[in-house]
Symmetry: D2
Subunit: 461 residues, 4 copies
Amino acid sequence: MCGLMAVVDHPEAANLTYLGLYAQQHRGQEGVGIVCLNDDRTFSLKKGKALVSDVFRDYDFSKLPGRTSVGHVRYTTAGGSSLDNVQPIFAEISKGRVAIAHNGNLINADKLRRELIQDGAIFGTSSDTEVILHLIARTPSDIPLEEAVISALQQVQGAYSLLILFSDRLMVVRDPAGLRPLALGKLGESLVAASETCAFDLLGAEYERDVLPGELVVIPMDGKAKSYFPFKKEKSAPCIFEHVYFARPDSRVFEQNVYSVRRQMGVELARESHIEADIVVPVPDSGVTAALGYSEQARIPLELGLIRNHYVGRTFIEPMQSIRDFGVKIKHNANPEVLKGKRIVVVDDSIVRGTTSRKLVSMLRDAGAKEVHMRISSPPTMGPCYYGIDTPEKDQLIAAQKSIPEIGSYIGVDSLAYLSLEGLYKAVGVEQSKMCDACFSGEYPLGTPQQLVQIKQEQLL
Amino acid sequence: MCGLMAVVDHPEAANLTYLGLYAQQHRGQEGVGIVCLNDDRTFSLKKGKALVSDVFRDYDFSKLPGRTSVGHVRYTTAGGSSLDNVQPIFAEISKGRVAIAHNGNLINADKLRRELIQDGAIFGTSSDTEVILHLIARTPSDIPLEEAVISALQQVQGAYSLLILFSDRLMVVRDPAGLRPLALGKLGESLVAASETCAFDLLGAEYERDVLPGELVVIPMDGKAKSYFPFKKEKSAPCIFEHVYFARPDSRVFEQNVYSVRRQMGVELARESHIEADIVVPVPDSGVTAALGYSEQARIPLELGLIRNHYVGRTFIEPMQSIRDFGVKIKHNANPEVLKGKRIVVVDDSIVRGTTSRKLVSMLRDAGAKEVHMRISSPPTMGPCYYGIDTPEKDQLIAAQKSIPEIGSYIGVDSLAYLSLEGLYKAVGVEQSKMCDACFSGEYPLGTPQQLVQIKQEQLL
Amino acid sequence: MCGLMAVVDHPEAANLTYLGLYAQQHRGQEGVGIVCLNDDRTFSLKKGKALVSDVFRDYDFSKLPGRTSVGHVRYTTAGGSSLDNVQPIFAEISKGRVAIAHNGNLINADKLRRELIQDGAIFGTSSDTEVILHLIARTPSDIPLEEAVISALQQVQGAYSLLILFSDRLMVVRDPAGLRPLALGKLGESLVAASETCAFDLLGAEYERDVLPGELVVIPMDGKAKSYFPFKKEKSAPCIFEHVYFARPDSRVFEQNVYSVRRQMGVELARESHIEADIVVPVPDSGVTAALGYSEQARIPLELGLIRNHYVGRTFIEPMQSIRDFGVKIKHNANPEVLKGKRIVVVDDSIVRGTTSRKLVSMLRDAGAKEVHMRISSPPTMGPCYYGIDTPEKDQLIAAQKSIPEIGSYIGVDSLAYLSLEGLYKAVGVEQSKMCDACFSGEYPLGTPQQLVQIKQEQLL
Amino acid sequence: MCGLMAVVDHPEAANLTYLGLYAQQHRGQEGVGIVCLNDDRTFSLKKGKALVSDVFRDYDFSKLPGRTSVGHVRYTTAGGSSLDNVQPIFAEISKGRVAIAHNGNLINADKLRRELIQDGAIFGTSSDTEVILHLIARTPSDIPLEEAVISALQQVQGAYSLLILFSDRLMVVRDPAGLRPLALGKLGESLVAASETCAFDLLGAEYERDVLPGELVVIPMDGKAKSYFPFKKEKSAPCIFEHVYFARPDSRVFEQNVYSVRRQMGVELARESHIEADIVVPVPDSGVTAALGYSEQARIPLELGLIRNHYVGRTFIEPMQSIRDFGVKIKHNANPEVLKGKRIVVVDDSIVRGTTSRKLVSMLRDAGAKEVHMRISSPPTMGPCYYGIDTPEKDQLIAAQKSIPEIGSYIGVDSLAYLSLEGLYKAVGVEQSKMCDACFSGEYPLGTPQQLVQIKQEQLL
């Protein structure tokens, strides 16, 4: 879970990059970094482990003067208290100075890392992104830069949308399966790139097109951009979960408007699992759009029976024992006036561990709900994501451990239904299995790290 | 615009007060303070000029050990860069030590302040709340505490919900007109008080009743609470704008659920000024609840065509000139997919200066809206509030300067309609003119500061 | 223990005040505040509870634009976690707006405070300075400003050097006994005032003269300064402890250079209590100057056998139990090479509780000192100061509890001698008992708070 | 300019390391880092770019739980605004995880860096220390750890005292010439290491011995320490400037007490260049110890005619134009009472650019000095240091550009004399040219980076 932003050849490149990251704050709240390439080919860098607005509070952007700038917001999946995992990663390598920002996750990173280390590499971070840097660094020095990057990327497997800034050109890449989004736009004469188009909207930039799966766009500082398609043709597999939950509703992702897709999920959900009820109540903010669709299709009025506190930060001083279900309450509150005596359809985007849902349901019942029917606008989450979304391991996923009725009983609802995989694809408007739906189907288009290890072991036999 | 919170006789009083203020953060984002009364009758105090979660980040609540605690969030109406205006105000006076927290605004504060200063008082803040403190301090020392407070309050005119903490009792007061809300609740054996009941919900406290207009509740540290009604009977006039905009939808205010009232405003609005359209689009977050009602009544589907960035903080490093309408964009984004070619009803709660509405409308048109009809879920805002809401002066209010068609033309809509005052009262479910609607009607139930001056001058003739 | 600074009519008044306070940081490390009077007669204010350089780190002095500015550094004697006791205190009173900064301590503040409170005053701080403000505020409004201030000051007893900034003039006052220092200087055309002349040196200002005991200098913003001597002639009693310890050696205080006086104390000390020894070792930094004089007079070479860590801040994370005498060690270290086998005269300015001296002596012995003779460049500290120096109460003062031989035995020295009171006056070059030497002699020239109470009680009989 | 600290096998290792760095703060004020090795063989790390006491203010040392800990304070010689150059540097390499802290400077780092980069290495810092890490990482994996480190160090030229912490052992190394200090001590059963022994004194640890030039001490976590001397025998050349200026006077460095050596420099200086004068005035703090020796030898009384402000921090908001020589004044003040009409010998440790000396002399003259004779307790600084002291380049060094009389005339003194190189060695008590005196003599015992390049070029011919 990360967000990317680049601005090429603009007098306020870093300031705009900051705003583009700000618009994509939902893609990563743990850390932010911006690197710019200055006129004299040096790089300037600012990183921090906090929200974009906090790291850059009162920041003097004249310290990031370059006309081309690359930024990153991250959600730290791995631990590590140091600053080092905040991206862009900056290094000096055989090809000169380079900064790299990565959204996605490599599945053969551990193996490559071990090999590289065995071969004398030193790793300063625990990030898989550093593997890419080493692979580029180790290509023979007489190989042109594009080929070096291509050769490096041909060795990695997994999901990657990348911004790679060298001292004379920016490279923008999307992996052959196109798992994570990456879009190109124009701001006047300047080229911009972002994970989500909502960043363009804030800047007043115009969306041009998505970087294509397997495309490498090379943008020289003093010339015209050029596209390469250096990878073996692969089945494209953009991540369907971006539509279900991750992307901002006002973004265009994989050439589809997220809001419209998400609303249609609610429509399909109502079609599949209609139930008699008095009101539809979304879990804010994640369930609101689907609930709208559900309400319309089911002809059951939408009511905001759960209210979200939008000032919620990340650190609270909890009272010792006074407040039951504190964690849920600090974020949500139920509105008894709306709920009392009502049969309720609660709509949310997904159930992960089940603990939050369970508390919300109990909150609804305490507020007087007569019946609580939960409807989930995606299929049961059966497996972790190895391609860049921070889902817990299988043993933490309630749907991998219990049947749907068991889940319903655990979270305390009168009925529980999920959207089917068919329904989900219908909502997205894409032919089934044309996207990565591994977290729902268990079918991992690029394989899993475990499979890689297994293949290796089998080859050894 | 302020929020109050008190917890009486609880081992974690200050921590709970902090959470209660946190739930009421929307009532004041500029400053927060908590005072507690310790076992040895000393007071401890913590204040700061930032969000509740920032001022108390990593705070060690053992520094506020007392079992009774009073807190305040404030929106600084007046200027002043010092910390002094953050409440509770703490002082030593003839009645001992005292801390006072105030929601509301006195209309004769300037006059009283001048008189008190003339009479030798020193004012350390620019707040009208300090006037009350001086009046209490100046009652003869042989007068009992309750009478001293009553005598002080009989001299002030205006809106006040007050928490006054002495070293042996807490007083909870609402002005005779009951302009600002104030509710009492129970948390186990402990009494709690708050401006809005959403604070009770977070703590798991139960709402008991509103403090009545003109009621003074005295809660001794070692005895039973007692109520006084010391003021001349006055027409009660609770602020209708709490329902329109200010209170959180999940709160109960003036014995009405805010969400239900606000939704009904949308219903009435649709009844009064229906228009043919394809979709209803709320301005988030303020217009969402009314839009729901409008959509239902008008049978026009609701669409979230405007998206709000919930990470918006208060300080941004704006780019120099690159981004048109930056201020609006950082907060809202339009969703062209939803809006393109559509006839749109935009619902918002009010129009103040008209500048934001104008930018939003332009954003909707840029996104391809065919028609934009704005519907406002309250009557035109014609005058400032002198009773505690931070509305600008008359010459800044577009509705005080222009006719409705002129406003519509200024903000660039195809049609504009406001909810009528009748419709508003109908939505609230209260007989007309039973509340303070001065900002809409120009009828100020307690008069204006200007009238006070005038009366004074007439008396001098 | 506080320091004052004022700059009148200078385009960079607040910035210079900050530097003047910075030079006087040793007079108060707990809090700092600066108020300036702007062209439009408003005041701007910045306060904080930290070192001058920390509170004003990256500060934008354009927020303190006024051409006349008053500042204060303070050492919080009383408790209180709030910001309120940081000076200057700012208030609105009958005479308009006023800011006051105070060095010294009033002995009848408690009585006046009680009377004022009884009479309806509210006190927002626990500081005795606020008493002065109330007394000024309560003079009848038709009395001219100078007379109001004079009348107020005639009611207070104790030590006060004051800067009082009104919206049209600055008043600079020293109490009739002249207990605390206050000097006037010139910076080009601008008048400056400071507790110590080292502040003038930093600014490049020239010392003009001391404010005289009992003098009130009134400096109108638009006219010429004028002096008043409104008090009954009293015996002047400037504080001799400023010379012993408190003032910076490069300052001129009470018309004497502190360094020269302090060095002479060492000379007198050597004359009075010479002993055979190999080296003279000062306790840095307080004992260095006197040790120089001692060494010269005694013809025993000076050696820096104790080294001070100048990076010592105020907060340390102490290890649990590993380090004996941690508190002393973090500040001082002994140099065994210099000390081993030597007979040592250790020179310090005073012994308060005896605990630090004891640890230092033990450190010297551990480093191999053969004999340790302690010589103190002032008489035994017998009583607390009621006039503004932060000395502990009598029961904490080792010299008030033990005889000199007992003290010597407690701190573990081979011999101990103090400078006599006669010797001290000889060093200062002032006739005996012409200064306040209460902490040594027990003779309080202005009486003690206890005596005031006693006199009152006797009058009641 | 850096300081090292290590604590092995102690329950409060990181807390003690922090204190040891605190005692060595003078060796590097720009950044500090501490790494500890935890029981489970993971590492924890805390770094920051500020003073030790600021980076670790309120720090919770339970976040650095390991029983063995390594720390570093640094003075950033190269630019770079990122955190990356703060040490210890932590990385994962073929030999496992490793943290490295370095005091000194390599002269062939640039060449090695270029070669390593050419060979595929990525550099995340601009520090020469990272070169060592890469060299270790690249030794074949079957080579034992000690040999790998030895082989790496055999490739580097220059000055290095190193702490290298692996997951099962700590290595402590000093380069063959022993340029920078490094001492070993005992704290109970725990071994400690530090650049200067003042760190031991604070902890109450006992100095055992210096790490010898060319010695590698390997301390396994679960066994006994073992020494290796893997390098070709070289002439040892400890840095004489540590004695002149850099080390704390209470430290033992290269088996000599710094204070005693520095004092003797003053004695030798007085012998060599005696002049008739009234007083000896040190430039505090650097000149005080030598001035003591000078004063004693010359039988001219020492006077503290220059006072230093010990609250000086690093950031000041300078006034625009009001104060002449602001930079010097904020740090020092002259005491006219002491100086007026006097013939003065000013003693300082060195003159670098001459600008500060010039301002100090002008300050002394303004204070009334009749004659100013400057005496420097080291020879003229003729060349930069390539071995770890931050001296400016030759064209910035006044002594490399001007003759002594010219310097005297530039800084405005009546006479100027330096200590001779012979005198300096006499003071240190070491045979001449047994130490590195390159900054004075221009004879670089390990060569210069320029010579390395030249040799290389000659070989190519």
